[in-house]
Subunit: 158 residues, 2 copies
DNA sequence: CACGATTAAATCGTGTACGATTTATATAGC
DNA sequence: GCTATATAAATCGTACACGATTTAATCGTG
């Protein structure tokens, strides 16, 4: 192992010694884009974008969430989630209704069409597993590590 | 391990059995956003956005690349890279000059200011390492696994 | 040399992300 | 019961991403 690959001792880690291809941030950035590209043809068949699909997954898991709750699950703010949910509404996959008890809140509910859409995504997991080129166990392990990293990063950013 | 956590036998893997929090795509998506958030305060000090920073890293690694070469390194198309590089030009970090030999190509060169900016990023690596909350060795291993996953996904998408 | 095919950037339209602000509603303290 | 504060969404402006197309330059073949 060369010094460049090692990046030197940890206490002297210098950004400039690391090539872009070995940046953790870049591997996350480009892997996310690559995942997006694998999903794109699957999602085009059901007429959703990638973030819209993630919002639908959150709703299939629990229907009737508030805008803020969906945002919390996706780690997004209302300024991103609100227009996204309006598009899902215009596609007739969800309804947006102000809560009677608290008029500040907007509750999102799946329509029949939105609920039915879940069936069309049943084989997505096996498609992604195949595309990932690793075993189920390795994928699960990697997923857990990335999630742990994310939570550490979020804590550090807060 | 329950059936839900296991997702069932691999040959019967069903998307609907997996909660959003255990989607590999969502962990990549949210970890990428989390990384972005950790970088944001660092990048604000030097006046760059996250993708602009990645483009600068590519140029610090090799100056004088073509628009298409930078796009290939970042896995982005000209429709994304061109406006990004124009912004870096308006910030006086790079110059954009059409090649004399082939007028279709535009070569990007670091300005003195753009070259000097690299010095301000020296401690980014140790900041990210600290924020990631894992050891250098674990980080390196994780980075390699994510990169391998990305390459598999890109091959599957092609 | 001519001309169709190819290539490199750029352009355009849609949809995220997000900082900052605004609007509307609810709650707390006096 | 009235006002200050807090909260939930929504709005606005900027900057990615990317599919589709356009523009301009080069190349290949006759």
């Amino acid at each position: 192992m060369t010094d460049t690959q090692a990046g030197g001792p940890a206490q002297h880690l210098k950004t400039g010694d690391i090539p872009l291809s070995q940046f953790l941030c870049f591997s996350l950035y480009s892997a996310n884009h690559a995942m997006h590209r694998v999903y794109k043809p699957l999602l085009q068949k059901i007429g959703l974008t990638y973030p819209q699909y993630l919002a639908m997954v959150a709703l299939w898991e629990q229907d009737g969430q508030l805008v803020g709750e969906i945002g919390a699950r996706l780690h997004l703010e209302s300024n991103t989630v609100t227009p996204l949910l309006k598009r899902l509404e215009s596609l007739s996959f969800v309804t947006r209704v102000r809560d009677d008890k608290d008029e500040r809140q907007v509750r999102i509910r799946l329509t029949e069409k939105g609920t039915a859409l879940k069936e069309d995504t049943t084989d997505f997991a096996s498609c992604i597993l195949a595309a990932s080129g690793i075993s189920v166990d390795d994928l699960r392990d990697l997923q857990a590590r990335i999630t742990a990293l994310r939570d550490n990063l979020l804590e550090a950013a807060a």
